[in-house]
Amino acid sequence: MTNDYSIPPLRDLPPGRLAQRAQHLHAEISRETPSRFTIPRFAMPRLRLARPVVVALVAAIVMLALVPIGGASLATRAINGITGIWTPGSPPPAPAPYQQGDKVWTTPPPTVSGSSQFSPPAGWSAPQPPAAPPAYQQGEKVWTTTPPTEPQTTTTITCTTPSDAANLLAKLEKEGSSITAVQCR
């Protein structure tokens, strides 16, 4: 090994190469697409594998939100779509009281069941409170109506699980019932 460790002087790029490289760089960054630069090529297979996993996880979370767990439900379902989603442990905000003349309707306060689940108050959607709907009975099962002071155009009855609610809704719809929403408690 020689002892000559001289460090060469600083040099420019060969003639014409600086301009050529600058032009190349400009072209590359101008044509940049996310797939080319922001995701390294070696990471692509991992992303391809990760995508189905993420989709499955999201689907599982959505299912958990809609399906009862141990008798508890996270969602309220109605004919016109989801009418309320709440998380056990935090009651949903109650709508403001409804007033017409000297009559005042208040929303029922959230009630807590034994499984720490909140029954959400129904929302106001029309100026006139409907008449109290009759309770619905099927065999030994009885569904109670929401309090008659609620000024809803849609009549709400309560049941215990979303599957009950779904079955009941389908049945009511088939029968042409005036009951248009089912609240799960």
Partner: protein, 197 residues
Amino acid sequence: MEPDDSILWARSRAGDADAFTALFRRHAKAIYNYCFRRIGDWASAEDALSVVFLEAWRRRDKELPPEKVLPWLYGIATNVLRNRQRAERRFRAALARVPEPLPQADFSGETDDRLDDERSMQHALVALSQLPRREQDVFVLCAWFELSYEDAALALDLPVGTVRSRLSRARQRLRELDPGCGHEQGRTATVREALEP
């Protein structure tokens, strides 16, 4: 007058390709020579230069203190050279689009000089390779490129005190490894010169 680095960098961060290309023209020589002094091959240094700037563009969301673009580019270059295979794989498609060199006037004299440079550099790199990699990084930036401790610390993402201690250890180690190293050759720097604090 060309805007300063801070302005060009701010524009680059906003996606201005012209501003970033202006930064390239300004700092290409420094990074090109840095790459050469780390790998000892001019042609590879030229490709590494492109990769360093493509990588810098990719990381353009980085906020930099005023006038610290060049130290930061040295840091990018250090990482690119450390992970050269991976970095080149990332930009393989871009490198494939580098045009062939244009026909040039004869510059065989310069070609000879460049071959000599490569031989000299390989010898110096053999000496340098006896240091741990982390000390090599500090030594090259501070001794061969005369970066301040603060700039080297920014480039390598290290505390200033760590830069000081690594440089000190590197100098000490090189003296111990080869006390007689370094012969003056014209205007070129030597490892011996770089050993002087």
